[in-house]
């Protein structure tokens, strides 16, 4: 109804959420056949092998790190954080779009989310896994990382709960657990579908075990819907808190460029910004390769692009406020930070950041850039690069020149930094490749509810 009104008002037709002509059977078949019927393709194998190469690179980089220690990285004093924290923040930010799509858009009753929430949640899981790796290996002695958790131990030592780094441990581990469970609960009815459609007995048993005997009972659905809605309601404040806590890692410190109150909202907006860019970069190839254009329509691309544009503007406001406060705040160290960003040794990085995150994404105001998959893919790439640069600027530029110029320094990432980073990119895509072929990448039962015949007519 609202869509009809809007079409009348604007005089143009919006793409539907699901192409017409589908029934319960065709929706089920189209999505589950990608998993059950589609033969192995050379392209998929090549993609997996390519990513597997990078996974090995990651193993090599981490293995060598365990032998030699963090000295193989470019980190020094004053820049003790380097790539590990840049990549941690970048990855966890990407994860946030998955939770936003699955939880916040669900609470807002944006039904278009139904066709992208599943793989966006998978993306969240893999991104959080990649993110979690970085602080772990950055501790230098990851084999005793469990010391960060409160547990009774013979040393009689307990964590220090006033530290943002401990808050981070709790926020990120809660986030990872919640994302996993939310994703799994959403999968249960679809696993049952795969169980009932599989022909190979072992495949059937595997999905059957995972579906745990789901039989679609009305009582079960009632509890399921309540639980799913509550999970969405719980995940919404959680996702906002996670990047807020990540921003506290910086904002609670007194380093110029970190110690600002704008950090939490600006980090959360940046997280969603980069996350939607990643969603688009995955959705655009997936929908064309696996023939899912009926379910992931232009409407989805356009809506995601709009979210990107909006959050990008919030990020732009954040940059503007940082600059304004540096100039207006009267603190000489903040003023110097601003000068250093614009004219210091990392100035090129800062200008690249502004171009990638603020200027280029403005093309999304033009409708063609929101609906043309190739153009949108390119803009998303630019945004992901931009958001990575943002974290680099925040971590490195703030640390490398702080209060005392006798303790200034420079940060140069080594090849091991780059191996670890590209290795996690490979790990992420490696997991996505398997996910696409093992589990339904679109929520089948939620797609059924989008069909007109799913609704019960009033008596």
């Amino acid at each position: 109804m609202t869509q009809l009104l809007e079409e009348v008002e604007t005089g143009r037709k919006r793409a539907p959420v699901i192409e017409p002509g589908h029934s319960f059977s065709t929706v089920t078949a189209k999505i589950s056949d990608v998993v059950l019927k589609r033969p192995l393709s050379i392209g998929w194998l090549a993609g997996v092998m390519f990513c597997f190469g990078f996974v090995n690179l990651l193993l090599l980089a981490v293995g060598y790190l365990f032998i030699k220690g963090t000295g193989i990285w470019g980190i020094t004093i004053p820049i003790g954080w380097g790539f590990a924290i840049v990549n941690f923040v970048w990855w966890i930010g990407i994860g946030h779009a998955g939770t936003l799509i699955s939880a916040i858009l669900m609470l807002l009753r944006q039904t278009w989310r139904n066709s992208i929430n599943r793989f966006a949640e998978a993306m969240t899981l893999f991104a959080v896994a990649c993110a979690g790796l970085f602080p772990l290996i950055h501790t230098g002695r990851p084999w005793v990382a469990y010391w960060m958790f409160p547990y009774p131990n013979t040393m009689g030592v307990w964590p220090q709960f006033r530290s943002p780094l401990i808050w981070d441990v709790f926020a990120v581990s809660t986030y990872a657990t919640t994302s996993l469970l939310f994703w799994f609960v959403g999968l249960i009815p679809d696993l049952a579908t795969l169980r009932d459609r599989a022909t190979n007995i072992w495949v059937k048993r595997a999905y059957g075990a995972l579906a745990m005997g789901w039989r679609g009972s009305a009582r079960h659905w009632s509890r399921y819907e309540t639980a799913y809605l509550l999970l969405a309601g719980l995940a919404t404040p959680l996702v906002l808190s996670v990047h807020t806590v990540v921003s506290f890692d910086f904002a609670v410190g007194i380093v110029p460029g970190w110690h600002t109150t704008i950090f939490p909202p600006y980090f959360v907006a940046g997280a969603i910004y980069s996350g939607f860019a990643m969603v688009l970069m995955l959705a655009i190839p997936i929908r064309s390769i696996y023939g899912l254009k009926d379910f992931i329509t232009e409407r989805h691309l356009e809506n995601s692009a709009k979210v990107m544009l909006a959050t990008g503007l919030i990020v732009g406001y954040g940059y503007a406020m940082e600059a304004f406060m540096g100039w207006y705040g009267g603190n000489r160290y903040d003023a110097f930070l601003l000068w250093n960003r614009l004219h210091g040794p990392y100035a090129t990085w800062y200008y690249s950041l502004l171009i990638c995150n603020i200027f280029i994404p403005q093309v999304l105001w033009i409708r063609k850039f929101r609906t043309q998959p190739v153009l949108l893919f390119l803009v998303s790439t630019v945004v992901l690069v931009g958001m990575w640069l943002e974290r680099f600027i925040i971590v490195v530029v703030s640390l490398h020149r702080d209060f005392l110029n006798s303790s200034w320094g420079m940060y140069y990432p080594t090849k091991w930094d780059w191996f670890t980073y590209t290795g996690t990119l490979g790990l992420f895509l490696f997991c996505m490749f398997f996910f696409m072929r093992i589990l339904p990448s679109i929520s089948i039962f939620e797609m059924r509810t989008l069909l007109p015949e799913s609704k019960v007519k009033a008596e």
Binding site: P150, W167, D196, R197, Y224, T226, A235
Partner: protein, 178 residues
């Protein structure tokens, strides 16, 4: 085992409209031990079979309260009793710093109780269930809707119940062996 050989009678329907109407009539006819199965959640359906209150929200509330108390209690105990540390002259009981872990554990416990509470109330995982003995039932995860009257229902009578289900106009009626 002295379970009856028949678990119940299963009627198959093609659409949500039909099964909701059928379930309402079955409930109105006095059958109470009934269940309906659908490929996606249909709110009218669980209302129709007389299932109005699930206790998931209560379980989550309890889980959340326990999580909140655990989070705050843990930090209070660590910072004041087990391992008091002077951090920049702050009081041991510096409650504003404790809010974040309290919040995160509230969410964590609520989420765990939502997921495992829902599964436990649903009696899942369940490796065997009689309804799966009916071959056509595998369509419940695709596009068909099923209504079952259990043989344990007081009003259950094989001939009468079958005739009643027939009057609802189902696509087919099958016995569910237990």
């Amino acid at each position: 085992m002295n379970e009856p050989a028949i678990y119940g009678l299963m009627a198959e329907f093609d659409s949500a409209d039909e099964i909701v109407a059928a379930a309402r009539r079955t409930h109105a006819a006095g059958y109470r031990k009934i269940d309906a199965y659908s490929p996606y959640p249909v709110e009218e359906l669980w209302e129709a079979i007389g299932f109005h209150h699930n206790r998931v929200a209560l379980v989550v509330l309890i889980g959340g309260i326990i999580g909140c108390m655990t989070g705050y209690g843990l930090q209070y105990w660590v910072a004041n009793i087990a391992y008091p540390t002077n951090i920049g002259g702050r009081p041991f009981h510096s409650w504003p710093s404790f809010m974040i872990v309290t919040f995160e554990l509230t969410i964590l416990f609520s989420v765990l109780s939502a997921v495992f509470g829902m599964l436990a109330l649903n009696g899942l995982p369940l490796p065997y269930h009689p309804v799966f003995n009916v071959e056509r039932f595998s369509r419940v995860t695709e596009d068909k809707f099923f209504l079952v009257v259990f043989s344990s229902d007081e009003k259950y009578n094989e001939t009468e119940t079958r005739a009643f289900l027939q009057s609802l106009g189902p696509k087919s009626i099958e016995e569910v062996p237990s």
